[in-house]
Symmetry: C2
């Protein structure tokens, strides 16, 4: 069994355990999220599935992405003006975002928890989590600049 299939199987299990019905639309959205490496927007998911589900509503995509987020299957990546992007949750990782083409690349970095300790110490907050993103030019876009 492929890794993707494993992820999907576990995800469906999580839904079942949470009492969420597994509809064809939900199955397809999850499948697409897991297979996609591009952190798609709700609209991209909608468009990718419209051939298989010609009369699925875009609201259904939004609704189900929220359901997935609430049971912890999906993380929503929010930015300023543009639309949210969605990331199927596997391992903890950060993102590098290309300021030219918008590509989002995963990367892992060990031990940023000390900053939570520090922040808690200087502010008195009870810290729950943090968010970190790195911005720059992806190799392709950097290459396009010099040519």
């Amino acid at each position: 069994m492929t890794v993707s299939a494993d992820y999907l199987k576990d995800a469906l299990e999580t839904l079942k355990d949470s009492g969420v019905r597994i509809t064809p639309q939900r199955h397809a959205i999850l499948e697409y999220l897991i297979s996609s490496m591009t952190h798609p927007t709700a609209d991209e998911i909608y468009k990718a599935l419209e051939s298989r589900f010609p009369n699925m509503s875009v609201a259904t995509v939004y609704n189900n992405l929220r359901v997935f987020r609430e049971v912890g299957l999906v993380k929503e990546l929010t930015y300023g003006d543009a639309s949210s992007r969605f990331d199927f949750v596997t391992h903890e990782h950060y993102h590098i975002i290309c300021e030219d083409c918008g590509k989002i690349t995963d990367f892992q970095y060990p031990g940023l928890d000390e900053i939570e300790q520090f922040a808690s110490h200087v502010s008195g907050y009870q810290i729950s989590h943090h968010r970190l993103e790195v911005y720059g030019l992806c190799p392709e876009c950097a290459n396009n600049k010099v040519n």
Copy 2:
């Protein structure tokens, strides 16, 4: 001269050097941003100034916040659904955000640049900057929870 007045003087200088006219509206928005410790939204700025400028348009606030951002006087803090918040640029700092009341507290942390090195190394990106926020409960909200 107070620190605030110094900031304002420098900001007006920056505007003049950039060829941006200093209108009463711009002066007031800058003044409010510098005095405010709350990282206000465009609408909060608009409402705070409406007694002094009864017929200022909210579009003027947005336009001028963009002007200030473009000349580097102001940073725009963007989150998911809610509206952008604006921070007058002084020293480099990060933010701790209360998940209950939305309060934003400044804090400084040394040496997070190594993560940019790391990200560049593993991804091949040309890194320009990063974004970090820490989330949790502010002391007041944490206190309200236990009572």
